[in-house]
């Protein structure tokens, strides 16, 4: 009898039954896509980015499609941490996969306060920090573009929680490895690479930007080669696990990230196109490993050969 390949991976102390995670902002609060599949079958789920207070989001239009990509400026619309804990978390805890909350703040203190609130509740396995948002104390420059600020935010969160802290890096930086090593040095347990890449689109007839916010974050297959490159760079620079994301549409895309050295992957924009993408990737990886006689997915991770 054939033995099933072992897809389980460890992200620090966090044990995942497979390396497939849903990316923040593309899987709602965790239960919206249950009509399509059982999220318990995934490695983990990361819910919509949460702030201290509810956020209304940006005026429309908030999204625009570009070749092989999606530009968005949702404006981090969310119900706020308190409503999430009271209304969403009780049902989420029934899912037999680790639930990771993604948090963002406008000041270092807000990040710390979010970590404190999350520390007090059960059912959240880890915290992913979004450091791509503007820092109001530093003139709106994103936390994630400066190693010192990125480290300051990470350190404050780490000091206020016992849960593993994952830092989601912003790609719009000169050298992503300096940010990666900075957050690693202050106690990040893993790094997610990469958030969306800043972009624009213009309607030439109206001469208006296609997003009311003018600028948005680009995601989807268009950014996959860039994301893969950034994962490759960060994997070489740090010793903590790297979670790869950016344009993953199927299990072959996922394998590329794993081969480059990502310990796990996140599925984002693809959830919008095909809500079953994440579970199809789990199936695809299982079948691939069986076919290739790989008994453990860890044999693939970092298995990139040289010419």
């Amino acid at each position: 009898m054939a033995v099933l390949p072992d897809l389980s991976v460890d992200i620090g102390d966090l044990k995942l039954k497979n390396p497939v995670i849903t990316a923040s902002g593309t899987f709602g609060y965790g239960t919206e896509l249950t009509p399509f599949f059982d999220p318990s079958l995934l490695g983990a789920i990361i819910v919509k980015g949460l702030s201290l207070r509810p956020m209304p989001g940006n005026p429309p239009p908030r999204i625009a499609e570009t070749p092989c990509g999606l530009l968005n400026a949702i404006g981090l619309a969310n119900i706020g941490i308190q409503a999430f804990i009271e209304e969403k978390l009780p049902v989420l805890t029934k899912i037999e996969a680790p639930v990771i909350t993604n948090i963002y703040g406008h000041t270092v203190k807000e990040y710390a306060d979010l970590a404190k609130k999350i520390e007090k509740v059960e059912g959240i396995a880890a915290i992913e920090i979004n450091i791509s948002c503007p820092n109001v104390e530093k003139g709106g420059i994103a936390f994630g573009t400066d190693p010192d600020t990125a480290a300051a935010v990470t350190e404050r969160v780490v000091n206020n929680t016992t849960k593993p802290v994952i830092v989601k890096l912003a790609p719009n930086v000169t050298d992503i490895t300096t940010i990666a090593t900075a957050v690693e040095s202050v106690g990040a347990k893993a790094i997610s690479v990469t958030n969306t890449i800043l972009g624009m689109a213009v309607d030439v007839t109206t001469r208006l930007p296609k997003l009311a916010n003018i600028v948005g974050g680009l995601s989807g297959p268009a950014i996959k080669p860039i994301a893969l490159y950034l994962v490759h760079k960060v994997v070489a620079a740090v010793t903590i696990p790297v979670i790869g994301l950016g344009g993953i549409m199927d299990y072959r895309d996922a394998l590329e990230f794993l081969l480059v050295g990502a310990r796990a992957i996140q599925v984002g924009t693809a959830n919008f196109v095909n809500p079953k993408t994440a579970i199809e990737i789990v199936h695809g990886l299982t079948d691939f490993c069986s076919r290739e006689k790989v008994s453990n997915i860890n044999q693939i991770i970092g298995g990139l050969k040289t010419m």
């Binding site: 054939a2 390949p5 593309t26 239960t31 429309p60 968005n72 069986s290």
Partner: protein, 287 residues
Amino acid sequence: MLADQSLVLKAPRYTFGYGKKMVEETVALKSNQQIGKNIWLMEFRSTLLASHAKPGQFLMVHLGERTKDPLLRRPFSIHGIQEGDKVMILYNVVGAGTSLLSSLKEHDIISVIGPLGNGFALPRPSERAILVGGGIGLAPLFFLAQVLQKDQRNTVTLFLGFSTSQEVVRIQQLEELGVNLSLTTEDGSLGFKGIVTDLLDQRLSNKGPIKSVIYACGPPQMLKKVAQKATTLSLRSYVSLEGYMACGLGICLGCAVKAAHGETKPYYYVCQDGPVFPSGMIDWEVL
């Protein structure tokens, strides 16, 4: 092989989330034909979709074989159900996505998720249903007219406006349904010359003896006028809105529309809270 069996998709054990009935289906097209200037009619069979769909609900359609460009599904309202299981989509070819869609032939495959969103709240017995459509806004109103005419509980009056006669489609089918139909074209090439809301103003100058409910779909400016008209006459009115959306499932939060002052939320989402809204819920100043 064994791997497949062990991971056979279990039906979700959760009843929370979207309790609404929706399916993802791969269907072969029955037909896909141009019937007017830039206007196409697509038909396919789906027992599941046809049996669950309500007028005003929509579908997310993936164009062809999971292409990466165009990347996203496109939302289309359900134009009608015929012969029990035949689902119709009436659409305008406006961009790369719909252009690709229009190139599909009989037997070509599309992936459909639906029915999605909230449909039109049907009129109470004996109320008069006034349907107002602008251009491709006819799409969901046809389905509404079908259902209302089948029930035979309400008088149905339909006002349709187009820019020119070449855009006028589905008239014979609407006449077969037996609705009271009035047409306008902006260039006067067919019917009343002018815009549809001008005709509505003329015909609906006062509240009248029979209580009416207005259902509208069309460009924002048209919907705004309809909403104003309904407010003036103290009539209930429902508008079907469009929005840029990536998923149609309430997760991307792309399709925000500003809620009217005094509503409990700053924004409503077209896919989840709509696409049909009581017109009073929307902030018409910024739509």
